[in-house]
């Protein structure tokens, strides 16, 4: 094992490097998240109708409303849960 003083020197380095990386990482994350939020707002504004549309596989209400009832309850439970 190396002498304690060397260990401590290395520890100080590790501390500076570690806190540095933590701060840089989280700073970039702050920037990224702000960008992400703006992007999300832009997308949401552009296609506010996007939410109901993209479910091609779900049966349309009314059409086979009665039918869904007859699908084996378990399978439908598996899919919808």
């Amino acid at each position: 094992m190396m002498p304690v003083s060397d260990l401590l020197m290395e520890g100080v380095n590790l501390m500076l490097l570690g806190m540095g990386i933590v701060f840089i990482f989280l700073t970039i994350l702050v920037v990224t998240m702000s960008g992400m939020s703006r992007l999300a707002a832009a997308i949401d504004k552009k296609q506010p109708q996007a939410v109901p549309a993209p479910q091609p596989a779900v049966p349309k209400a009314g059409e086979d409303e009665e039918l869904v009832a007859v699908i084996s309850a378990a399978i439908s439970r598996f899919r919808s849960r």
Binding site: E10, G18, T27
Partner: protein, 367 residues
């Protein structure tokens, strides 16, 4: 007869187990973990039975779940599925508070190395790193890192981490009050903006992307945390989200606790090093809290008074205990100052922060 084979060390370790169960059951100290850990400690120290041995139940569980790192990662998946990151998304700058509080980790690292000056202590850099992570105030991160860097100390590290997490309501308030003025604590913060579903879904990808680019050694922890969170937020896989939040995390918690308990053997726990670890753990929480509050004060200044410095204390993680403590101290100063939601931001930021710190330590100290 068991009584003839009982050694004093085993008896003492069983008493340690009983103390942990007492703290869990009566004092409500993180009972989900400390109760199984305590019981595991009792079972593991029964002579002749060999329950923690290579052919014993707890020996198997430790080998399969902790040596491999699987259990802490599954807990992280469950934590991700249980955590609502809205408060952080609404106020991403609270990540700075989560970053500052990690100073507890690195200061403790130095402390652990300095302890080598005291005769009887011989902490390697890996040992010191594993001990330091207690300051992350995050149980599964601590167990994961200790299993990688210093398995012999795992028992003491896990016990210290969960114990101090439970003690957060006692440790933090004096430090918070000492570092803030009455006026500081009365600062009210404006309500958080609502967060859209799309933001919540993009969030895990944002975090994971940075992790991939800059700190891949943290990817197992961050990746599973974000996977769990995606299951929660994406909305089309409720079955899986509920499995992660309930069945998986509950089952794994039982076995993780028992398996951690199996490392509480006399020869590894009844040492002067454990005392050192306990002392360093307390130090880590204090320093982390202080660093968080001081960063809170800085943000208070820089934002022209919009940030209540108290919420910095929540940056140590210990979710959701630390955020509740912030709220309580805030209410003591002003009966109408509810800080809970604002403290949840740095609180969950602290989880990410300590996973990042663990990644740093793994990259620089590990294998």
């Amino acid at each position: 007869m068991g009584i003839a084979n009982l050694e004093w060390g085993q008896v003492l370790m069983m008493l340690v187990g009983c103390v942990l169960i007492y703290l869990a059951a009566v004092k409500n100290f993180e009972p989900l973990l400390l109760l199984p850990i305590g019981f595991g400690a009792i079972l593991s120290n029964i002579p002749v039975a060999g329950i923690a041995g290579p052919d014993g139940l707890l020996g198997y569980v430790y080998h399969v779940g902790i040596e491999t790192g699987v259990f802490p990662l599954l807990i992280f998946m469950g934590v991700g599925a249980l955590t609502d990151f809205s408060a952080l998304i609404a106020m991403p700058q609270t990540l700075f508070l989560g970053a500052a509080a990690q100073f507890g980790i690195f200061a403790t690292l130095l402390g652990a190395l300095a302890l080598n000056l005291v005769p009887g202590f011989e902490f390697s850099m890996a040992d010191a790193s594993a001990i330091a992570i207690i300051g992350g105030a995050d149980g599964p991160t601590a167990i994961f890192l200790a299993s990688r860097l210093s398995p012999d100390l795992l028992g003491a590290i896990a016990v210290a981490a969960y114990s101090y997490m439970a003690l957060v309501p006692i440790i933090q308030p004096p430090i918070m009050k000492a570092l803030t003025s009455e006026a500081d604590r009365k600062v009210t913060m404006q309500q958080l903006r609502p967060v859209s579903k799309l933001e919540k879904v993009l969030f895990p990808f944002s975090v994971l992307l940075l992790c991939i680019l800059f700190l891949p050694s943290a990817a197992p922890l961050i990746g599973m945390l974000m996977f769990g969170n995606l299951l929660r937020e994406v909305g089309v896989v409720d079955r899986l989200s509920r499995a992660a939040q309930n069945e998986i995390i509950n089952i794994v918690t039982i076995f993780l606790g028992l398996a951690v308990g199996s490392k509480l053997s006399a020869d590894k726990f009844l040492t002067v090093e454990t005392l050192g670890i306990l002392a360093l753990g307390a130090l880590a929480f204090c320093i982390g809290t202080a660093a968080g509050v001081l960063m809170g004060k800085l943000m208070h200044k820089l934002t022209g008074g919009k940030v209540n410095p108290l919420i910095g204390a929540a940056g140590v993680s210990a979710v959701p205990m630390a955020a509740r403590v912030v709220n309580r101290v805030g209410l003591e100063a002003d009966h109408h100052n509810f800080l809970l939601m604002h403290a949840m931001g740095p609180n969950v930021a602290g989880v990410i922060g300590s996973a990042v710190a663990a990644g740093v330590l793994l990259a620089l100290v590990g294998g």
